[in-house]
Symmetry: C2
Subunit: 257 residues, 2 copies
DNA sequence: ATTATCCATTTGTCCGACAACCCAATGTTG
DNA sequence: CAACATTGGGTTGTCGGACAAATGGATAAT
């Protein structure tokens, strides 16, 4: 039946559990609930919203996943700031599911990492430099390629933190996460990769210590270019999409805990 | 009671609803469930996992929020690719909650937008150019500053799409979203802002048509610098954190629907 | 063949219940 | 009196069952 041509669109009512989540999210974004603050108990929310506890719980799960609320060891709920690495993990997964290519990854990282290292070179403190040098020292004595790849990831994350720019920090993280597994492969396949990697890190730290922005950028460019060369030397195809396996091992652990 | 010194750490069991979510997510990441595919009914999942329906539903809410599964108009569940703008919205919110400053935003955008426009200038097709020109035409006749600000956001999103680099596209989006409200303010406060904005867009499209990467980058730099000048002329402080109000109006609508 | 009607499924919501767990207040012991 | 052990109330995680509303598909009527 189509009746007379319809005059009205259907009125949509969001399910109650969504409304619960939206209401709480609004309070958080409005600043009426601040990070660290306790959210009431489930019973409280049941009373306030006038819905069943199951409904409240479903709403809470939405917020829990978005990182706006978390549970402490006592499992009680409190408001929380969404964590960067959680968001970055989600983005990495999305990128993989969308089958982005290594070329896209490389191109983006070239801009993001150079921009980041420029800011870091400008702002690095002696403490920052010490931390970076510690990372390099660890890498020099790292037992295997897996450890080196992880330390490399740490290094770039440190640079991002030192940039004192959280927008850049968040923007570079997803691509950074996807590099780690490839670096391990490269280290296993290309003999010089480890040495060149370390050299670039050293030069970058040197430049940061001297606040030499130009040199820092230059060496970061070389560093990212090296990755590409190594990637191709290891027999990988730049226009292949990032394989799904790269996120599987990233572990679901962090995602819901 | 502390007894003898404990030999074992406590065994952690994740709640059943988390395990449900993780199990389904694993299947998706492993490729056994592909986007578009129907997930079983709740009753199916109850049977397979051997848990209560409430538990299954809580697990589903986690995945729903992460964008890995969605409900079609019939409310049945199917596997889905996480959407960029959903992720970008979340990131924008996180940035605001972390109280990033406009300076961070500006600095990051300067790198991200220039990198994006370089790639776009290299790869823009005639159809892409036509779309950009259409956007400019609309902006020339836009009724108010709100409309212009939104068209500006569209323009930059188009450039990102034209870059054919989804990593860059995703990386620039969160910062881009936070610019829109400020641009409206600038347009209202600074007389020349609208004209300069349009001029920059025109020059950028011109450069893209000619695949003139250098010029495209140059005008994007000017464009972003103009934003900063306008922002300061409008009496705003670059080192203030982005206000919470900037995300509230972004609407929760998209977040859970 | 197209339209209208009916029925089985499925989701959203509710109710009630209970074990495991956490925290704090209480009592106990050196 | 202080440190410890115990107890009890409150909270979360999970379960079972129930029902209205909405949906999709099958069936009947035009």
């Amino acid at each position: 039946m189509h009746g007379a041509d319809d005059r009205f669109e259907r009125i949509q009512v969001a399910p109650a559990y969504q409304q619960v989540a939206e209401a709480i999210e609004r309070e958080i974004l409005a600043g009426h609930l601040t990070p660290g603050e306790r959210l009431g108990t489930e019973a409280d929310l049941v009373r306030q919203f006038g819905v069943n506890r199951s409904t409240v719980r479903e709403g809470i799960r939405l917020l829990e996943q978005s990182g706006l609320i978390r549970r402490d060891q006592s499992r009680r709920l409190f408001v929380s700031l969404p964590r960067y690495n959680r968001l970055a993990t989600r983005m990495s997964r999305a990128l993989v599911l969308h089958q982005v290519t290594f070329r896209e990854l490389w191109e983006a990282s070239m801009s993001l990492e150079t921009a980041t290292v420029e800011a870091a070179a400008e702002r690095a403190s002696p403490e920052d430099i010490a931390e970076l040098e510690d990372n390099i020292a660890k890498m020099e004595t790292a037992p295997d390629s897996q450890a080196i790849a992880e330390l490399d990831n740490d290094f770039h994350a440190m640079i991002a933190r030192i940039s004192r720019n959280r927008v850049l920090q968040l923007a570079r993280e997803p691509a950074g996460l996807l590099f780690t597994p490839t670096l391990k492969i490269i280290l296993d396949e290309v003999a010089v990769a480890g040495r060149r990697n370390l050299e670039a890190h050293r030069k970058i730290v040197d430049a940061c210590r001297r606040h030499d922005i130009e040199t820092a950028r230059l060496w970061m460019q070389r560093h990212i270019t090296d990755w590409r060369r190594g990637f191709e030397k290891a027999g990988q195809q730049l226009d292949d999409p990032v394989e799904r396996t790269y996120v599987q091992h990233m572990g679901l652990g962090g995602a819901y805990r």
